[in-house]
Symmetry: C2
Subunit: 482 residues, 2 copies
């Protein structure tokens, strides 16, 4: 290429003729000169291009407006102003595409996140969203790098599936049948045998079951792909389409699984700290401004980067669900009746309980283990003997400040009889996942795995508060634009 991205230009020695290609962020005119700030998405920073007053034809100057796309050639010189080492002394300007200031929605002023969600096709051109997307990229790359470096194989589990791994979760139906007059069976149901796949199919809610097939052949695998939930919940924490990372490891027991989860999540956050310093600094400032609008007691005690360093530098607290329930029952909010949901052994811990443990009691990430069997999935390994009040499974949830559950996993039940007995109890037919059961029939092995919702990780690292702001084109109820 005959030009350098802004990121490289800003680190180039002055004294040569260069061409900048990018979009105008701002134009400022003084009595003696015109200053144009250009960004090309390669970095949060702009490069400044300067021309003496009168140098540029009026026709050109008129077209240099926020959002216009330009190629500017000139000498790279030491910058007079603060904040940048070099700037471009303009000799030539080419306008690729103007941006009519009357119509272009992204003017140099603060836009609300709500407004920007409506123009998700343009919001990556803002500082906030370009920073988020660059960090999202860095985290995704860190995920692949971590698993590759540690001997895992990337396994693409199917998106269209005839099985429901979680046994729960509303699913999206995938079909090519005539939607008005689908073929019917004799008893009046839709005849899916005539559908594209010859059966009823849905979008996957998890690649775990297929991931286990991979682990019980290749040893250590991970998935990183889209998953889907057709839940009609319009919250700041849920998406209908989101990306999930699911490692599965043969010969890993619960303890190994916890070690991996902690090392993994620390490693990718450390990668972001090392590779996204500028973007994180920008988002840290953004968060500071946002925090100022909050009540004192709701403001965070730590800045964004302090929070990330804190996670990376500290051991996660590990305790059983049973011990956590004891702590919660003896907690101030429990005694004062401040929890909305009463705490007792067997309940599914609510967000308020998780946040108390993480943010108030331990003040660091927490790994809860050995949950009651009744509130967890059929495939989790049953504990042999415990002092808990009821049967438990070797589950583990990693809880993060502000986010709640960021990772959910378990050792998997590898005993065919225990597994099928549990399936019968919860009403899952063996024929539906005969292939899954085959791995327990032939060469069964202890194994474990977990899932991490990628957008929750991006949410945590960027300090954003609405999950729709950390994925390029969010999918939610009544929302599939772009």
């Amino acid at each position: 290429m005959s030009y350098l991205p802004v990121k490289q230009l800003l680190q180039t020695e002055p004294g040569q003729t260069v061409t900048v290609k990018g979009w105008v962020r701002t134009k400022r005119e003084s009595k003696n000169a015109v200053f144009v700030a250009i960004n090309d998405g390669s970095t949060i920073h702009t490069i400044q291009a300067v021309a003496e007053a009168g140098f540029l034809p009026d026709e050109t100057l008129r077209l240099i407006t926020t959002g216009a796309c330009v190629a500017i050639t000139g000498e790279l010189v030491p910058s007079q102003g603060a904040g940048q080492a070099v700037e471009v002394k303009i000799t030539e300007v080419h306008i690729y595409g103007p941006a009519d200031p009357e119509k272009y929605p992204l003017q140099p002023k603060r836009h609300s996140l709500e407004f920007l969600r409506e123009i998700a096709h343009l919001r990556p051109r803002t500082n906030t969203f370009s920073a988020i997307l660059r960090i999202r990229h860095a985290l995704a790359f860190a995920v692949h790098k971590y698993y590759n470096d540690n001997g895992f194989y990337y396994l693409n589990t199917p998106i269209i599936t005839a099985s429901d791994a979680e046994g729960a979760g509303e699913m999206f139906r995938v079909s090519t049948l005539d939607p008005i007059n689908p073929p019917r069976t004799e008893d009046g149901k839709v005849d899916y045998s005539q559908d594209f796949f010859g059966r009823e199919t849905n979008l996957t809610v998890s690649g775990q079951l297929e991931g286990e097939l991979g682990a019980l052949a290749l040893g250590k695998i991970y998935t990183f792909g889209p998953t889907f939930r057709a839940e009609n919940s319009n919250t700041t924490r849920h998406l209908a389409e989101f990306w999930m990372i699911e490692p599965e490891m043969a010969f890993f027991e619960l303890e190994d699984n916890m070690n991996l989860a902690e090392d993994f999540v620390k490693s990718v956050i450390r990668y972001a700290l090392e590779h996204c310093a500028d973007d994180l600094a920008f988002l840290e400032n953004r968060l500071k401004e946002e925090e100022k609008t909050k009540k004192k007691e709701e403001q965070s005690e730590m800045t964004l980067i302090e929070k990330l360093r804190f996670v990376v530098d500290n051991d996660f607290e590990r305790l059983t669900y049973t011990d956590a329930v004891e702590i919660l029952r003896n907690s101030k909010p429990a005694k004062k009746g401040q929890f909305q949901y009463e705490v007792g052994w067997g309940i599914d811990l609510q967000s308020e309980h998780e946040r108390y443990l993480v943010e108030k009691h331990f003040k660091k990430p927490v790994i809860l283990t050995n949950y009651p069997r009744a509130i967890k999935s059929f495939y989790m390994k049953q504990d042999e003997s415990t002092t808990a009040p009821g049967p438990t499974v070797r589950a583990m949830d990693v809880l993060f400040p502000g986010i709640g559950e960021i990772i959910g996993g378990s050792q998997r039940e590898d005993d065919l009889e225990k597994l099928t007995t549990r399936m019968a109890e919860v009403g899952i037919e063996e024929e539906a996942i005969w292939w899954y059961l085959d791995t327990r029939r032939f060469g069964s092995a202890p194994h474990s795995g977990f899932g991490l919702g990628f957008e929750r990780l991006v949410l945590f690292v960027t300090g954003m508060s609405n999950i729709r702001d950390v994925i390029p084109f969010p999918r939610a109820p009544k929302s599939a634009e772009f």
Copy 2:
């Protein structure tokens, strides 16, 4: 972890006590000893464990059968046999999970690929499929590494979409409406306003249009995700669900696009050559055996690895569609009437034509450019003036031996008026992709991109001939098991 994967064990100095965990591939008994070959998926190789005859209890020996999962502890000693440096002198055997030889389908003999497709949940335990999946992983990682190293940002374009990027291609409908009695509008159509997303939605056929939004903000982006085609074609080249890589770059013109495509595909193949030597050697031998069953004239002139090196080491031939048509018209097969489809300017080149150019005429990968506008998509940049017999676009297809088109791309039309005129000609409504047009309204820039079907790349690198054998769980008409 208290044990090492087989891959590391085989490179460990003898003299220490180790534990091997994995699946028995074979057991061989001689008068004096029993030899067990164990594989754990970390490598194509097995590690041999040896016990003197009589050392293992009969009950244990009986359970050491092909497919059983074991942990074997013993001293790592220099191997007596050929083919491996070290072996394990057994002191202890633990059977995690047996595999009844009467029932376990993967016995140590040659299974047909057709049979293995029916047990896709177990086929990763075979040498062929574990090799393919490890290579698939290496290629996927090489893709991410290449783009990360070159300043691209990974962009997750939506899977569920209301738009059809190609303007063609059968799509899968995504819905949560009652399939039997969907709500209807007054004129009797399905009332999609009541569907989950408030409109009709489908699975994406390409992330390109959204990718362009990213490139025109972040500069250089790439996608790597699943795409879908509901085409009822049961061939060895098509899948209903496959993974696609789609880079989009601002300020790249056709020439830059070609340079990137060639450098990219060479780079990832080179990565596989460097990182998957053992697996490629295994698949090369497999292919040699397969070739022996073919007629002499159908046998490949090069081995698998020679073919890969050839692609990496040679410049791709670049020529226009118009020049290619001339070559084809003057070719022997054309003159002898051996082409099934007649060649003339304006036709969509068929597989037989592409293969002639690549395999017979140039004997290397070919990049064809400047195709007739009529046979290409609306979004491709129109050529200004050419000597071609009709209007052309700045398209480029990369053709590979044995595979045909492996990459298709173009410079994109950045002129709003030309774009909308072309859309009107081919019947695409502006309202359907108003957001796409916005990028030409505001700050339009020259830009380019291409798409590479990941499975076609894996097919080429592994030397397999059916695309269903290079994705873990293939989706095809009447086939969505696992």
